[in-house]
């Protein structure tokens, strides 16, 4: 089962000019593996995730194709997309505290997914309690009756996961699952995702800026910067032998790996540098890097997009 993205471009038209959030990204993701998309704020990773489900804001212009098992998603009408969302590809959205409806009890928000799948009210209630039990909630009834603001950050995250899993999708896209969480809660999220992966055999696409979570949970990792894919590889290989200078710099800036800062700043959207987008900050930048954008070179199990490997 494959999800393949071909030459995807996403531009947002705003009063202060058009913003190229994603340009010319091509990827193939298999549902057998967990794929992680790493990138910092403004790298376009979230936009990529949302564009798969067609959930971008109204001022977004999308070009290129996204295929799910050969079926093209980009051309679908809103009505057909609604059939895909939830049933085939589910989403665990960003900052869980605000991603649950504050006015509705948590249990009912989960039951809604079962009801959408056509189950009766009693069945949905039963399945919801089972699912909560499975996601390591000690008192499922109390949690089901509680409102989102009565739950902690971790519990909200697991409730969101329950909503995603309830429709038995084949894919789950998790957007920044650990952002702003304490270490202990972050570990719980990791455990939950691992349980879901083994129990429901679901294809995972994890979008995060948390390198440690990516290394531990994902099989393959894609590194994004300024809307472009700089490097892809297996998790182990990427951390042991990072090829692209940006990946190396990123790993080096981790607190427990020396916290060595990279030079320069991530460019603003409106004035992206010519040639290789990383060249102003790259220690090995050469003349060609300033002039020409590098092509993608496939080596070993991954790929890299840097003149150093032409």
């Amino acid at each position: 089962m494959e999800l393949c993205i071909q030459d995807l471009c996403v531009n947002f038209s705003t009063p202060s000019g058009t913003i190229p959030a994603v340009n010319h990204v091509s990827l193939t993701v298999s549902s057998q593996q967990v794929t992680g998309i790493i990138g910092e704020t403004g790298s376009g990773k979230s936009v990529l995730g949302l564009s798969i489900l067609g959930l971008l804001q109204s001022n977004a212009a999308v070009s290129g194709r996204i295929l799910l098992d050969g079926r093209e998603l980009t051309g679908l009408s809103q009505r057909e997309l609604c059939a895909v969302r939830g049933r085939e590809i589910a989403l665990v959205a960003q900052n869980p505290a605000t991603s649950l409806n504050p006015g509705v009890r948590v249990g009912r928000q989960i039951e809604e997914v079962f009801r959408l799948a056509g189950e009766s009210r009693a069945e949905s209630r039963k399945h919801t309690l089972e699912l909560l039990e499975q996601l390591a909630f000690s008192q499922p009834e109390r949690v089901a009756r509680a409102y989102p603001f009565e739950l902690s950050g971790g519990m909200c995250q697991r409730a969101l996961t329950a909503i995603a899993v309830a429709a038995r999708p084949r894919w789950i896209i998790a957007d920044e699952p650990t952002k702003g969480l304490d270490a202990v809660v972050r570990n719980q999220v990791y455990d939950t995702f691992r349980m879901v992966r083994e129990h429901y055999h679901v294809g995972f696409l994890v979008i995060t800026h948390d390198l440690l979570l990516a290394r531990k949970f994902c099989d393959r990792i894609v590194v994004m910067y300024c809307g472009r894919v700089l490097e892809t590889n297996t998790a182990r290989e990427l951390f042991e032998h990072p090829r692209h200078p940006y990946t190396r710099g990123l790993i080096a800036s981790l607190p427990h790996l020396g916290m060595k800062p990279m030079a320069g700043f991530a460019p603003a959207f409106t004035d992206q540098p010519a040639g290789c987008v990383f060249h102003p900050r790259c220690p090995h930048a050469r003349e060609i890097c300033r002039r020409e954008a590098p092509g993608t070179v496939y080596c070993g199990e991954g790929s890299v997009c840097c003149h150093g490997f032409d």
Binding site: G86, A93, P102, L116, F149, A164
Partner: protein, 314 residues
């Protein structure tokens, strides 16, 4: 569940000082009134000029010369016993008059509230559902126009159109239900437009929130999302405004009641004011104040039911 009860208890407790404050305010209003009510009591008949002694006799009878605090104490004692004092003109008890006239104003206000709620809900949802389409823009222009037309011009226009030209509705009076259609519209149109705009902007505000993304990811269409998820959270400002408008209507809409000759609380207040009958005005202010506070209390409870954060988080 007991948290909700405690919240309601707290709210009820809180209204008592407010009601007391309103009695103080109403009495203070009475005091600053210019003009001597005793004089005006005797001069209802235009051809008759009261003599000095008669006025003095009346002042004694009405106790207008006692110190202020005593008058307030006596008045408040009366109010607690349900006696809002007697009109200075025709000596009828104010409360009985207000209660006699209440049904008309109540019927008018409830009908208007129904129109405001229905139009508000329908209009708000449609305009936000078909965002930026032709309906949305045209609707907004019409709304702004209707909001700006003064109530009494609207009333005359409707009388002329429906009663005189089409002869569909009676021009005035308050005997049958059909008499209330036009006055209710005249009163409700202004507030309905505001509620529609309020609801539309709060729905669109909520649509930008993260939980809508989760709902979309479940595969719900825009209409389902608005009805099942967004509406509940977006209603609070509209409910507060509608309750505010309804409370105001309970005070009797003077113009509509005078144009359509509906004997209601508003027309009572208007005659009381033209005759400078300040006990009646005090009673009126108190009556509408109490009604308004109760209506606002009801609105608070509805808002608390709508979003649990207030009820439980409080």
């Amino acid at each position: 569940m007991n948290q909700t009860l405690r919240y309601i208890g707290k709210k009820l407790l809180w209204t008592i000082p407010i009601l007391l404050g309103i009695t103080l305010l109403a009495f203070a209003l009475g005091l600053i009134a210019r003009g001597d009510p005793a004089v005006n009591r005797a001069s209802a008949d235009p051809d008759y000029i009261p003599t000095e002694e008669e006025i003095q006799a009346l002042r004694e009878e009405l106790g207008l010369d006692d110190p202020v605090l005593i008058q307030y104490g006596r008045w408040l004692g009366g109010v607690l016993r349900g006696d809002l004092g007697r009109s200075l003109i025709d000596d009828k008890p104010v409360l009985d008059e207000l209660l006699r006239l209440l049904p008309n104003t109540l019927l008018l206000s409830v009908l208007a509230l129904a129109v405001i709620a229905a139009a508000g809900l329908l209009g708000g949802i449609c305009l936000s559902l078909f965002r930026d389409s032709f309906l949305d823009v045209a609707g907004r222009v019409v709304l702004v126009f209707l909001m700006s037309v003064p109530g009494f011009c609207m009333a005359y226009f409707m009388i002329w159109l429906f009663a005189q030209k089409l002869r569909v509705l009676p021009t005035s009076g308050a005997d049958g239900p059909e008499n209330f259609i036009m006055p209710c519209l005249a009163v409700a149109i202004g507030s309905a437009c505001v509620v529609i705009r309020l609801l539309r902007s709060s729905i669109l505000g909520e649509m930008g929130k993260n939980y809508v993304l989760t709902a979309q990811a479940k595969g719900l269409r825009r209409g389902q999302i608005i009805l099942r998820h967004v509406l509940r959270n977006a209603l609070t400002p509209s409910v507060t405004y509608a309750a505010n408008a309804f409370g105001g209507l309970l005070g009797g809409s003077m113009i509509t009641e005078s144009v359509f000759s509906i004997p209601g609380i508003g027309s009572y207040a208007l005659t009381a004011i033209s005759k400078r009958d300040y006990t009646a005005i005090q009673g009126y202010v108190l009556f509408t104040g109490f009604a308004f506070v109760l209506v606002c209390l009801l609105a608070d409870l509805i808002c608390a039911w709508l979003n649990p954060k207030i009820r439980l988080g409080g």
